[in-house]
């Protein structure tokens, strides 16, 4: 994990830009993310994170610039991108009115897994998360933290190259947040690239590298350790504060 630069490149963005009329939501983003890396994508509300993430997931076409995701072109191969990534967010993750098992089966089907594979995966997920007695309960009955752990497991059901996580731990308690990060570490150890946004600055520390967006641009990108040195800060909270308070854009 310490020699990331020797690894294959998972995401490569070059001057990636998204304009809405006169407004530049994402401004010339250039960065690389390595295979198996945990990459933290930070920024204040309104800094352009969601816009960037939508482009990287093949959901929104850039205005200019280029990028490859798991080797696929962001303009021409959006369907291939979607097959090779996983995605979860705080807002959309699972179907509340399906049971735990039904959700796993549903997503397994969407991703084209065989019945045998779905059965095997279901058992593995239920065992890993300790959901044996909840397997036939509706997802709406689960506490938020359990839902989020299940949503993550479902997002990597099809063994994607990359998983995008949009504020996966918002509102989750400290103990469950850490259990969630255990799942992230395990996935990264198995070679899944993790691209994650968070408002918890202690979680920024768990990333191999992080970028911080301000007003649509990436203003800093390095390991947490190097960023703290660069900004002469004691904590990532300080680094974030020093950068984000320079923002001129009003969060509309």
């Amino acid at each position: 994990m310490n020699d990331l630069s020797n690894r294959a490149i998972s995401i490569k963005a070059d001057l990636l830009t998204k304009r809405y009329g006169d407004f530049i939501a994402a401004d010339a983003l250039s960065f690389e993310v390595y295979k198996g890396e945990i990459f933290g994508f930070l920024g204040a509300n309104g800094a352009g994170k969601t816009t960037a993430m939508r482009m990287l997931c093949g959901l929104s076409l850039p205005s200019s610039g280029s990028a490859t995701i798991a080797g696929f072109d962001i303009y021409r191969e959006t369907e291939k991108i979607k097959k090779n990534i996983g995605y979860m967010s705080q807002k959309f993750s699972l179907y509340e009115d399906l049971t735990v098992l039904e959700n796993i089966r549903f997503y397994g089907g969407i991703y084209g897994l065989s019945d045998g594979a779905i059965k095997e995966k279901s058992e593995a997920i239920i065992a890993r998360l300790g959901l044996q007695s909840e397997a036939d309960k509706l997802v709406s009955a689960l506490p938020l933290g359990w839902k989020q752990k299940l949503a993550f497991s479902v997002a990597i059901l099809h063994q994607p190259h990359i998983v995008f996580l949009d504020e996966p731990t918002g509102g989750v308690d400290p103990v469950t947040r850490r259990q969630f990060w255990d799942l992230i570490y395990e996935a990264a150890e198995e070679g899944v690239t993790v691209f994650v946004t968070t408002h918890y600055m202690d979680e920024a520390e768990y990333c191999n590298r992080i970028s911080i967006m301000v007003d649509g641009r990436i203003e800093a990108l390095d390991t947490p350790h190097n960023l703290k040195q660069q900004f002469q800060a004691d904590s990532m909270d300080d680094v974030f504060y020093k950068l984000a308070r320079q923002a001129k854009r009003v969060d509309l």
């Binding site: 204040a44 918002g170 308690d173 103990v175 408002h199 600055m201 768990y206 904590s235 974030f240």
Partner: protein
Amino acid sequence: MEAITLNALTKVYGKEKTVAVNEVSFAVEKGELFGLIGPDGAGKTSIFRMLTTVLLPDGGSATVNGFDVEKDYKQIRSSVGYMPGKFSLYPDLSIEENLNFFATVFNTTVAENYDLIRDIYVQIEPFKKRRAGKLSGGMKQKLALCCALIHKPTVLFLDEPTTGVDPVSRKEFWEMLKRLKAQNITIVVSTPYMDEAALCDRIALMQDGKILSIDAPENISKAYPDSLFAVRADHMYALLNNLARYEKTLNSYAFGEYAHVALQSGIDEAVESAALKSWLESAGLKDVEVQPATPDIEDCFIRLATVHQAAVIK
């Protein structure tokens, strides 16, 4: 004088008799900034809804400004402000229209209490013709706070006002709360962010409908009973796995750039640090650092929640 009292307050939901709030008792002093700290499902929102009289208790009692939440709900409703966790303003009305609406409902005008909201309102005023449904999260939050304040409440209830809000905006929000507190408004605020707990006068740590601990944040930290160490090494994932296997570990978990590990109290810290360091090195970790750490609210919460969980399983 006490602004709020809860006496064995209880709420039970549904056929399965899920106990959301389990005989909770505490009091909040007038002018106090009181925090309800706990995860989703701890019972915070149910407490807010009972205290604001929109939900009836199934057991126990509570008062707000001396009024009973069941019998005197009318008096309570006119004297408290409530900002629910879920955005609850009218999305089809503009900023201005929402504010006027709430002022009118409480028989007052925006002009009459403008002083109270000025600091907050000036930040959203340039967009006052915009519909509330079209606002960003941060702007919605500011508008909701203005609407909760416009009738000059004596008690303000804020249910997770900063969930999903970035660290800079969170700091600004807490600056606003301090200014409101200075005007002698009693504030009860809930949050899943442990760093915000330290900004309250007193906090109640909650889980599964119960209070785990209630005190000033600094006293809760002081009462932490174990010996806590901060540990760093070249590889966090391997470090965490190894700390969990160390035989003297009571509890271990990631904590920012360090891992925290709790060992039994009353030990010689220097000896134990050295022993742990050499054990981790023999497990193959490099650049190992071990140092005593001061527990904060998050450490206390994790410990209480773990002990609580163990008791539930037994």
